[in-house]
């Protein structure tokens, strides 16, 4: 297929995929009562009313929810980067009794759906008196509980030549220094993938944030957005869409910045 034709086809397909997003963008400029009556993508008149009102409609300015989400997302990124890489180093480079079984158990945790885990987790955190704090959402990230990222980094570290470790050991490095000085710098693509995915997944996470946070002052963007909805036909759709666009901006930026590392990381870790 000639290149121009292929490009045209890809652009057309891309637009189809983008349609829901474009529809939301256009609806965010329309008054709520015409959103479902007027299906056109180009709003007749641009109005920023939804943004202005939506920003303050939830009883607290929207930047509060953005900040809450940012605290959890950034802390999760730091936690996952440190803890998952440490765990991965151990699985990839150390030999210890029970390693295979523990590795299998770690992988098995990926397969447990959140619905199975949520009640025991809730009981545990309620006993620690952590409900209505960010601790249930952040502390586990510092304990390498995201097995997916551990696995990703194990795969990556295994592909690095062990000659480097051995050279470092001859120069007198212990395990921690090998991990920090040799392995971590070489792991950049995998770390970037972990950072980008952790950020996006945490930013978009609705369920666990809903369950562990019941105080409105602690609400994050996804939980706050749901309070625009109402079962009795008084949903503020326009404001919901406007604030969704606002909430999307940070992940969009994060993805743009990390996109290059992301594809590199995925291509080099054997996860395709």
């Amino acid at each position: 297929m000639p290149a121009p034709l292929r490009h045209a086809l890809l652009v057309a397909l891309g637009l189809v995929m983008l349609y829901p997003l474009l529809w939301m963008l256009s609806s965010s400029f329309k008054p709520t009562d015409i959103i479902f009556r007027d299906p056109s993508l180009w709003p007749g008149a641009f109005s920023f009313g939804n943004y202005v009102h939506g920003w303050t409609a939830l009883g607290a300015p929207f930047q509060k929810f953005l900040l809450n989400s940012a605290i959890i997302a950034v802390a999760s990124v730091v936690g996952n980067l440190l803890s998952c890489s440490l765990a991965a180093y151990a699985f990839a480079r150390l030999s210890f009794p029970g390693k295979r079984i523990m590795f299998a158990a770690m992988l098995a945790t990926i397969m447990l759906p959140i619905h199975v885990l949520i009640v025991p987790r809730y009981v545990l955190f309620a006993q620690l008196d952590w409900i209505n704090t960010y601790l249930p959402l952040i502390v586990p990230k510092f304990l390498a509980t995201d097995a997916f990222f551990v696995f990703l980094m194990v795969q990556f570290i295994r592909s690095l030549p062990t000659d480097l470790d051995e050279a470092a050991r001859i120069d007198g490095c212990g395990h921690f220094r090998i991990y920090w000085r040799i392995i971590m710098p070489l792991c950049m693509p995998a770390l970037a993938t972990t950072a980008v995915f952790t950020f996006i997944w945490t930013w978009n996470d609705f369920f666990s944030q809903l369950i562990f946070l019941t105080d409105k002052d602690l609400y994050t963007v996804p939980v706050a957005l749901r309070t625009f909805l109402d079962g009795q036909g008084r949903s503020s759709w326009g404001e919901l869409f406007a604030m969704s666009i606002v909430g999307l901006a940070p992940i969009f930026g994060f993805f743009l910045a990390g996109q290059r590392y992301l594809t590199q990381g995925i291509a080099t870790t054997g996860i395709k």
Binding site: F36, R37, A57, L58, G59, A105, A108, I118, V119, P120, Y122, V123, L124, A126, Q127, I131, F206, F207, L210, I211, T214, D215, K216, V223, R226, T227, F228, L229, D230, G231, Q232, G233, R234, S235, S236
Partner: protein
């Protein structure tokens, strides 16, 4: 893995013992209550006003509200109840109270009757929170299922509005036909009336009802056959829309998308609390009437239904204070003024009268209708047993087969009884 699971079990067991030992409560010192509901920011603001009034009247009790939208709310409640950390006062609705009450998660309100006066509330609405002879919930307000009419279309067709103290289902069928014959093209006499609530009304008037108190199917095949014969005749004469339109409508839920909301149907069976939305959508002064057959059959079929129920967590450490809060919310004028009709038309006549002045014109029509029918409704509603949430889908599926002439009314009746019996395990 096994060790992890084991430790979880231990933690869970600890949690249960810790909670059960702390339930003596009622020491007179400052108490913090948790109160949960579903809804949006407007409801939260109104509720907060009522809670502020409660805290002013009871300085030793502090109430913390927790809310989320409907679906998210019940996900959260399920987790909290399972983990033994549910709020003290829990708002319930639909089939949920029976489900949670049956599992022992809700308090028998007899235990807190000293704080809770149910005698001021409509009896029929209170009975909605009572099953297996235990009172689990207090109604926040009431709705009823009636018939919404568009007087403008009646006028355009030159058909007088029916007298809802006298009319029968035969009149309903005849009037719908007359409207179609005389009104401008594009108008239908009525939307298709087939819905679980519709057949409940129809069969209740004949002394049946869809479910029996023992949790079995009570409606007879003969009654259902008559219903489907009526809807088939109406579709044939054009009094109700074509099958394709009815089936498409069944999949939509927004009031703006119904034929009544678009202003092209003269009659629609509907919940009274949707009147405001339908009036706003159509821009017409829609009215509520009693359904056909209320006075000419064996008994009245309409009932009052609690729009929501306040319940108390069975493991609450402060059940007395929780009951006090509920009592305040449903019978204190300050709470009534703050909440208005947000949770349904108040079931307490005193509150209903007190807020009458502050209602908008749509709400006034709704309140007047509820007041008019309260004295005439059938005594108690038999709540559907566990599994009865499937009835809606079963009925819609069968109705579409009837309207597309795939099965005869008598076969549809038998299939409905078979399938619903299976769904409710009876």
């Amino acid at each position: 893995m096994t060790r992890l699971r084991f430790s979880m079990v231990v933690v869970a067991a600890l949690a249960i013992s810790a909670c059960s030992s702390g339930s003596s409560g009622d020491s007179g010192g400052p108490v913090e209550l948790r109160f949960s509901w579903w809804g949006n920011e407007q409801r939260a603001a109104a509720t907060q006003k009522a809670l502020d009034a409660f805290q002013n009247a009871n300085p030793t009790i502090k109430v913390k509200g927790e809310y989320a939208d409907f679906n998210a709310y019940f996900d959260r409640i399920a987790t909290q109840v399972a983990a033994n950390d549910a709020p003290d006062v829990i708002t319930m609705g639909g089939v949920y109270p029976r489900e949670y009450g049956g599992r022992g998660a809700l308090l028998d309100l007899k235990e807190v009757s000293g704080q809770l006066d149910l005698s001021t509330l409509d009896k029929a609405a209170v009975s909605n929170g009572n099953f297996d002879n235990v009172q689990y919930g207090v109604p926040t307000g009431v709705n009823t299922y009636g018939i919404v009419v568009n007087p403008a279309l009646f006028q355009a067709a030159g058909v007088p509005l029916p007298d809802d103290e006298k009319w029968s289902w035969a009149d309903y069928e005849r009037i719908a036909g007359e409207i179609v014959a005389k009104a401008p093209p594009g108008t239908v006499g009525s939307e298709d009336p087939t819905a679980p609530e519709g057949i409940e009304l129809f069969s209740k008037q004949l002394g049946e009802g869809v479910y029996s108190p023992e949790g079995k199917v009570a409606i007879s095949a003969g009654t259902l056959t008559r219903w489907f014969e009526m809807t088939t005749r109406m579709r044939n004469s054009g009094a109700t829309p074509k099958a394709t339109v009815t089936v498409e409508q069944a999949a939509l839920s927004a009031p703006e998308q119904t034929l009544m909301g678009k202003g092209t149907a003269a009659m629609r069976l509907e919940w009274s609390n949707r009147l405001t939305a339908l009036r706003t959508a159509s821009g017409k002064p829609l009215q509520l009437l009693r359904v056909p057959g209320e006075t000419v059959n064996k008994q009245a079929g309409m009932w009052l239904q609690a729009s929501q129920l306040y319940t108390v967590n069975a493991r609450s450490a402060h059940p007395q204070e929780a009951a006090k809060l509920i009592n305040f919310l449903v019978s204190d004028p300050a709470a009534g003024a703050a909440i208005g009709t947000d949770r349904g038309i108040p079931a307490n006549k005193k509150i209903r009268d007190a807020i009458a002045g502050s209602l908008n014109e749509h709400q006034k029509v709704e309140v007047a209708f509820i007041t008019k029918v309260s004295a005439k409704v059938s005594p108690a509603l038999v709540l559907g047993p566990v599994g009865s949430t499937d009835t809606l889908q079963i009925l819609q599926r069968i109705n579409s087969d009837v309207l597309f002439d795939k099965i005869k009314p008598a076969d549809a009746a038998r299939r409905f009884i078979d399938e619903v019996s299976k769904a409710i395990g009876g």
